[in-house]
Subunit: 161 residues, 2 copies
Amino acid sequence: MMPQPSTKTLEIQAGFKEDQCQYCQLIETGDGPLAEWFIKLAETRTSIAWLHKDQLWPGRCVVAARQHATELFLLEPDACQTHLREMVGLAEAIQREFGADKLNYECLGNMIQHVHWHLIPRYRWDFLWRRTIWEEAHEPELLGDRDYEERIDRIRAHLRW
Amino acid sequence: MMPQPSTKTLEIQAGFKEDQCQYCQLIETGDGPLAEWFIKLAETRTSIAWLHKDQLWPGRCVVAARQHATELFLLEPDACQTHLREMVGLAEAIQREFGADKLNYECLGNMIQHVHWHLIPRYRWDFLWRRTIWEEAHEPELLGDRDYEERIDRIRAHLRW
């Protein structure tokens, strides 16, 4: 079954052009529609990572390239390599802290064409184990601010950016 | 709707352990269940790429790390960087040849835990545009051998591995 788009999803779908890019907006101002879902976790000159507020998959994060590019191969080669190394480093930190049974690394851009990754720790107990998380709608698992901060601290403790 | 597992899918799901890894089998012998779906396109010391026989998304490919690892961060760091650079290079070659409107880069491992990427060129005309390709079942678009070879040649012409 296709997930039913919420109002938030429809707002997010609007940002296809660079000057309307919601990742650029979030990176530059910390604000915009994506700020409703993401809490900043770490940043470098090349990448920015956030904890995703939907923690149904504990440790779920998003990491974006700082530079606006619609595809990985359109980033500067050095920036691309650095960004990829940082993406993998964040995945490792998530796995170490949460003991995921598998990681999913997805650079899609179906909604917003600015290079970013969904890093989704997968667990044998998760209701979509062995399937992608996009295949069935689910209620987001939202936490309190203190719990988000605790998860961020736990990931940061492993992150070697 | 969840895709209905075919007999092939069920066979593929079996290979979770390294000694039963169907990517290792394909890489080492060119044979096994995955050979029913993939046609070799190019290889390096670090990566191997195949054209996916389901060409509903023209140019769809898979690229795997030659070394068996369940996660990107478990590859040797140099091999990981090289593999990622090659993965991005293949994505660029696909995009250049097929003029995709977007690429999806997905390293999932939900079925087989050996680092591999689904590189899926996405088109505004495709029936799942702006959604992942996993969200609805579809009939694979199979081609004749000559058409597969032609697509492989077209991608190779752009590939700088």
